[in-house]
């Protein structure tokens, strides 16, 4: 079963299979999801879910607090759709200090 996922920050709709997490399902479409580890460690794929039912796997507490999780702020790589969904990727805030030291990524 495939569900329709609206990625609000990109204003684009694409489908994701129910047996795939959102990162695995949506990463086949160009420039839709951020590049990440797809399994929890990196925390790049933090999203806010505003609509839709989903099942979820264990979140990395280094990136997602219990409070976040209760407020539907989760890692897209740990979420599997059970209905159509509306999600928004939350960009990583990079402080000025971080920018100064982030040599290889500039």
């Amino acid at each position: 079963m495939k569900y329709n996922i609206l990625v609000k920050d990109k204003a684009r709709n694409h489908t994701c299979n129910e047996n795939k997490n959102l990162m695995d399902g949506l990463s086949i479409y160009e420039n839709l999801v951020p590049k990440g580890c797809h399994n929890g460690a990196c925390g790049v794929c933090k999203i806010h879910i505003s609509n839709g039912d989903y099942s979820k796997l264990k979140m990395n507490r280094k990136h997602i607090s219990e409070e976040d999780e209760n407020n539907n702020i989760v890692l897209a790589c740990k979420v599997l759709p059970k209905t159509d969904m509306k999600i928004e990727f939350l960009p990583k805030t990079i402080s000025n200090i971080d920018k100064n030291v982030y040599i290889l990524g500039n």
């Binding site: 990440g36 929890g40 460690a41 990196c42 990395n60 971080d98 030291v101 040599i103 290889l104």
Partner: protein, 315 residues
């Protein structure tokens, strides 16, 4: 040559210990050799002779704990304790058994920002092929049958910590600087370094990033054919591959980057690169050619190489 011999083991926190066990056994071809009551797993590759090279701890986090290096003699621990403290880094001497299956060990936080252990003894098991008239590789075994854990690349907060960590590893632990990426005014800052104690291009590497952590650790394979077969095995198991088979300019290694079930980045590093010796001149990569150094064929940034990595557990 006394002192540090090689990378001994990596210690990680993982989100789902059962998934991790299946992954490292069936895909990497490691064996679980010890399991503690709290669920912690210890794993070994077939071509390694000490008890284990990887510790996986069940956790609420997917984070990096420590890297441990094996020294040649027990007396090295006393000698290095003195040297490390004289350098201004405090150390803690841990009794035998605090590190599982190991003799006494020395724990310290290096100027790179990472916790390290040094130990001289670990329970001996032997290679799967034995040491009398051995076969070249074990007929038994699963997945890609990785030979051994080869090196670790750690992320440091900024070039200052890369440089401080590099200087410490050179001056105190007597690692040799094989390669470096130099950036900034007249290349005055080391943004990345590759250091060796063995005769391979690196036993540890440091790269500058926004946060302290582990970029990846690598498993050794023989060469390109094994790399291509490993990539097939990964695709068959839906492993998230970050960078498909590619040559490194730096170290000349043949590589795949991919992720484990907790998102820790792993590498299969094949070929010896070149013979590393203490008198080899350091290779320098400039800022404008650094991506040629990292991914030799494309020469451009690729995958999630700079954005995605594991954070240290204690920060």
């Amino acid at each position: 040559m006394s002192g540090v011999m090689r990378l001994g083991h990596i210690d990680l926190n993982v989100l789902d210990i059962d998934k991790s066990r299946t992954y490292y056994e069936n895909i990497m071809g490691m064996n679980v050799v010890r399991e503690d009551d709290n669920g912690t797993l210890y794993l070994k590759c077939w071509d390694e002779w000490d008890k284990y090279s990887l510790i996986l701890r069940p956790s609420e986090e997917a984070t990096f704990n420590t890297a441990a290096y094996k020294v040649e003699k027990d007396s090295d621990i006393d000698d290095l304790k003195e040297k490390i403290e004289a350098y201004g880094v405090s150390t803690e001497l841990l009794e035998a058994g605090v590190l599982a299956e190991c003799g006494r060990s020395l724990k310290f936080t290096a100027p790179s920002g990472h916790i390290f252990h040094l130990y001289a003894e670990k329970t001996f098991v032997g290679k799967d092929v034995g040491d009398t008239n051995p076969r070249p590789w074990p007929f038994e075994g699963k997945g890609i049958k990785a030979h051994w854990i080869d090196h670790v690349l750690l992320m440091c907060e900024g070039p200052e910590n890369v440089m401080a960590g590099t200087k410490f590893f050179q001056e105190v632990l007597e690692f040799n600087l094989a390669e470096q990426v130099c950036v900034g005014p007249e290349g005055s800052l080391q943004a990345a370094t590759w250091l060796a104690r063995t005769s391979t291009p690196h036993d540890i590497a440091f790269v500058a990033g926004p946060k302290t952590g582990m970029h990846h650790f690598a498993f050794f394979l023989d060469g390109w054919n094994d790399i291509l077969r490993a990539a097939d095995v990964m695709a068959m198991h839906d492993v998230k591959i970050d960078v498909t088979p590619q040559r490194h300019g730096i170290t000349r290694g043949e590589t795949i980057y991919f992720f484990d079930p907790s998102g820790h980045r792993l590498e299969t590093f094949a070929g010896l690169g070149y013979l590393m010796q203490p008198d080899m001149p350091t290779v320098t990569w400039t800022e404008d050619e650094l991506w040629r150094g990292i991914f030799y064929h494309t020469g451009i940034e690729n995958g999630a190489f700079t954005t995605a990595y594991t954070l240290s557990a204690y920060k």
